[in-house]
């Protein structure tokens, strides 16, 4: 399923909504999560999972082409941990 299909489903299931509103709803949900992660905040969505911005320490790496050593600075990386409930559903246990 891609974003346009998700928007389609939202619009179909909520007849009072025009398509542009369905699109705005979906966009704002993911935008809000991205903004929170950019602030370094964790996003906890019950039943789905938890998004966090994980800290990565600075490290030395090598440019594989030139062999030159470069310093990769400390940074944050988005991470998602699925909830137990979601994993159960994905594995065919519990509610579908």
């Amino acid at each position: 399923m891609k974003k346009s299909e998700l928007i389609e489903r939202v619009a179909k299931a909520h007849t009072g909504l025009v398509r542009a509103e369905a699109e705005a709803v979906v966009n704002i949900i993911f935008q809000s999560i991205a903004e929170a992660l950019a602030r370094g905040e964790r996003v906890e969505l019950r039943g789905l999972g938890v998004f966090t911005a994980k800290a990565r320490r600075p490290r030395r790496a090598r440019n594989p082409k030139t062999g030159e050593e470069v310093l990769v600075p400390a940074r944050r990386v988005p991470h998602f941990r699925p909830s137990k409930e979601l994993l159960k559903r994905v594995n065919g246990k519990g509610e579908r």
């Binding site: 399923m1 909520h14 949900i29 993911f30 019950r46 944050r76 988005p78 559903r89």
Partner: protein
């Protein structure tokens, strides 16, 4: 941030009622879970890709007793952030 904050964002930025916003946020999250439960990935451009991956059976060990146990094959959910999201989250230090 929790679901309540997403509801508030939808309410404030789309201008729908709190009740409608809550229903819609719930619906969107539920659709994502339903797709994953079907074994279908969810690809959100500019955000990331939720994938269902098969994990092979393996032999594990109970760390307390040292006893060997067989771990059955199972499915895992993996999120691959899009380059756009990675850049936004990287931080100023980067």
């Amino acid at each position: 941030m929790t679901k309540a904050d997403l509801v508030e964002a939808v309410h404030a930025r789309v201008g729908l009622s709190k009740k409608e916003s809550a229903e819609l946020v719930q619906f969107v999250l539920e659709e994502i879970k339903r797709a994953l439960a079907r074994g279908e990935g969810v690809k959100i451009s500019g955000f990331g890709h939720f994938m269902v991956l098969e994990r092979a059976a393996r032999v594990g060990r109970n760390p307390k007793t040292g006893e060997e146990i067989r771990i059955a094959p199972r499915k895992a959910v993996v999120f691959r952030p899009s380059p756009v999201l990675r850049r936004r989250v990287e931080g100023d230090e980067a």
